[in-house]
């Protein structure tokens, strides 16, 4: 009997349903409807969900465990940073932008400072440039640690997230000792940086550099070498090179797709021209590659910290800049490589002491757009793996 015949047979020959009185409360299946018919389930993943890395909200259409369609819904953390920035003096805009990408605020600060310097034609002292590179890399490791740790958590391994806090603590104590803050640093300012390394910062960093390779090895044991982890991430969420470029991706997700574009290499800023480093590139663009690229970047960033400490020149950390910044009318774009990708600040000035327009090119937003494209066809569990591998920060997406 074919399925059609079977469903035909359920209907009585006269086309009438058999007059069976169903017990009260039992739903009667309408005539002619296949009793085994299924329907798609639409679930709201987020904004309160342990694995959406903040207040991301993704609508998933599910067929059982399989994702049929996905749509990201944003804006739960929208604070109007771009609008508020139009009403602040230049020196105060940095504090706003710190809160955009709150895990690696220093990169957004740096982009803003560079854009302001471009407009005003400020020459930044060399030492400040080196300090900018140094702190960029410190924050890069701290941010990648979070990315790796939470990624382990997304996949179901609790341990790495708590282990990374050990190293992050070491880095944050350096940041705290120099910038006075553990998250919203406001350290990089137009014209240079806030202050020089404190006496205790360098020994702390040297100590960190001594222990970090061993700890990195620990993560490779906990995650990279774990068969279950590999089974969960290999071949999942493949973003090929063409898709990555079409969707304007940047940072580790772009490089994992096999396109080695890094702002630090291609448009050197701060002291990156004097530093030697490689840019890790993935092959297939799956979650596994994105994870490995981040692991490798951490190792390289540790080398860069060492180079920065060794090559740190003497001199001022701040150029002579007026108390109230009044850049001449004009436009400037400055990009830096943040742990999430290319952070760009597009600054429009009208000659007054407040910016006319500040636009933040948020790498997380651009990287996230691909989610709707990649997710269909994967399982629910993979959706978590894909979001985690993109390492988004909602503060930056929603601004």
């Amino acid at each position: 009997m074919t399925p059609e015949e079977l469903s035909q047979a359920r209907i009585t020959p006269e086309g009438e349903a058999p007059a069976i009185v169903l017990p009260k409360g039992l739903r009667r299946v309408p005539r002619g409807v296949d009793e085994l018919a299924t329907e798609h389930l639409i679930v709201n993943m987020g904004p309160q969900h342990p694995s959406t890395h903040g207040v991301l909200h993704i609508l998933l259409e599910l067929d059982g465990e399989e994702i049929i369609a996905a749509e990201a819904s944003l804006g739960y953390l929208h604070r109007g940073i771009e609008k508020l920035a139009e009403h602040r003096r230049y020196s105060a805009v940095g504090t706003l932008l710190d809160r955009a990408d709150y895990i690696s605020g220093i990169h957004t600060e740096l982009a803003l400072a560079q854009a302001t310097e471009q407009l005003m034609g400020i020459e930044v002292p060399e030492k400040a440039q080196w300090l900018r590179s140094l702190f960029s890399e410190i924050v890069r490791i701290a941010s990648h640690l979070i990315a790796i740790g939470t990624y382990g958590m997304d996949i179901g391994a609790m341990a790495p997230f708590l282990y990374i806090m050990r190293e992050r603590e070491a880095l944050l104590s350096v940041l705290e000792s120099v910038t006075g803050a553990r998250m919203m640093f406001n350290y990089v300012r137009p014209g240079g940086v806030l202050r020089d390394l404190t006496p205790e910062a360098e020994p702390l960093l040297r100590q960190f550099l001594k222990t970090f390779p061993g700890y990195l090895e620990e993560y490779h044991t906990l995650l990279t070498g774990n068969e279950i982890f590999q089974a969960r991430v290999k071949g999942v969420g493949v973003i090929d090179r063409a898709t990555a470029i079409a969707f304007g991706m940047s940072g580790p997700p772009l490089r994992a797709s096999g396109f080695g574009w890094d702002v630090r290499k291609e448009r050197p800023y701060a002291a990156y021209e004097q530093l030697r480093f490689d840019v890790p590139v993935g092959e297939s663009g799956d979650c596994w590659d994105r994870y490995l690229v981040r692991m490798e970047e951490m190792r390289i960033a540790a080398e860069l910290i060492e180079q920065c400490l060794d090559g740190m020149p003497e001199g001022d950390v701040m150029a002579k800049v007026p108390k109230v910044l009044k850049p001449p009318a004009g436009e400037a774009y400055s990009a830096v490589e943040s742990p999430r990708g290319e952070v760009g600040i597009h600054l429009v000035s009208d000659g007054t002491d407040t910016p006319y327009r500040v636009h933040l090119r948020a790498p997380s937003l651009m990287n996230l757009a691909v989610v709707d494209e990649v997710m269909p066809g994967h399982k629910i569990a993979d959706s978590v793996a894909i979001i985690g591998s993109l390492d988004i920060v909602l503060g930056e997406i929603d601004r």
Binding site: E65, I155, M158, A159, I228, A381, D382
Partner: protein, 334 residues
């Protein structure tokens, strides 16, 4: 003592053991996971935080009795008991020592698996009755997991039944007395049955809903799966039965593979075993639970389709082959 009273006393003792285990295990889980994760765990309430779980029980008991408005109220109320009762019933089969057992069931092994097979029904009921999509997916996962892992779990212990010639847990323990080569205890885990132990271990992890197979809870995917909408003591019951299940499975593993209450070097018939036996079994069980917690603190979670594939394509064939091999050997030896 009248038989009825005797049954009542034993049931109460089993309940006491179960509740005490719950309190101890939750504290142990927090401490073990804490130290595995470079943190401390509870350390504020009581010495070394030992009273933390008791306080949590008080908290759970005094919480608002909350039922989501869209939930199926009766099923929602019933489900925690559907989870709790079978796991309590399983205690009846445990053999703690030569003279300590809640009941002398001849088919204790079969009985344990039969009642434990009812647990996922309660889980599915909880998932369905919550009327939440995440809970529903969790409940459905529990059902799929149950069907695929109950089979290898039973198949992996059948070789033991063959070698022991009985389904009674007491008889299985007795069959492990004596020494091979004069000094190696004849525990099943020290015999070729270690293969069966490996199979049992994997299937038991899945049966217990433990990492890496915690599909129906899957914190990072389904938030908390079937337990999503539960709070207060209903959640407490779900939680408690989870711990009691891991106690039962660990006790089973100790009984089937690690010689139960036997201690190498002490004659099982000696009177000292009457009290030493239960203590040793508890110790062995707790070591087993520690291993479970260790795994929980270390491994990531496998994906549902991979888990089902592992169950059907690897575990079931492997345990069938092992069962057949054991059968051939047992037949050839006798």
């Amino acid at each position: 003592m009248s038989p009825l009273l005797s049954i009542l006393v034993r049931a109460l003792l089993a309940l006491l053991l179960m509740l005490a285990n719950g309190v101890v295990l939750i504290y142990m889980l927090r401490k073990v996971l804490g130290h595995l994760h470079l943190r401390i765990g509870p350390n504020r309430v009581g010495p070394f935080g030992a009273l933390q779980t008791s306080m949590d029980v008080v908290k759970l008991l005094t919480k608002e009795d909350f039922i989501p408005s869209a939930a199926d109220k009766w099923l929602f109320r019933l489900a925690p008991y559907m989870v709790f009762v079978p796991s309590f019933m399983a205690y009846a089969a445990l053999v703690l020592g030569p003279k300590a057992a809640f009941s002398g069931l001849d088919t204790g092994l079969l009985y344990v698996f039969a009642v434990l097979a009812l647990v996922p029904m309660g889980v599915m009921m909880a998932g369905w009755a919550s009327n939440s999509k995440w809970s529903l997916i969790g409940g459905m996962r529990a059902a799929a997991q149950q069907i695929s892992y109950e089979v290898p779990l039973l198949l992996s212990v059948l070789p033991i039944v063959m070698t022991a010639g009985s389904m009674s847990l007491a008889a299985i323990v007795k069959s492990q007395t004596g020494y091979a080569l004069g000094f190696i205890p004849r525990w099943n885990v020290l015999s070729p049955q270690i293969v069966g132990f490996g199979l049992f271990m994997i299937a038991a992890l899945a049966e217990l809903n433990q990492t890496p197979f915690d599909m129906s809870e899957a914190e990072s995917e389904l938030i908390s799966g079937f337990a999503n909408e539960y709070s207060g003591m209903r959640f407490g019951l779900l939680f408690l039965s989870e711990f009691s299940n891991s106690f039962i499975i660990s006790a089973l593993a100790a009984t089937l593979f690690f010689g139960g209450w036997l201690v190498p070097g002490i004659d099982p018939a000696s009177p000292v075993m009457v009290w030493l036996g239960p203590a040793v079994l508890l110790l062995k069980t707790y070591v087993g639970i520690f291993v479970l917690m260790w795994i929980r603190g270390t491994l990531p979670r496998i994906r549902i389709d991979q888990m089902l594939a592992l169950g059907w394509k690897a575990l079931i064939p492997a345990s069938l082959v092992w069962l057949m091999l054991t059968g051939v050997i047992v037949r050839a030896v006798s």
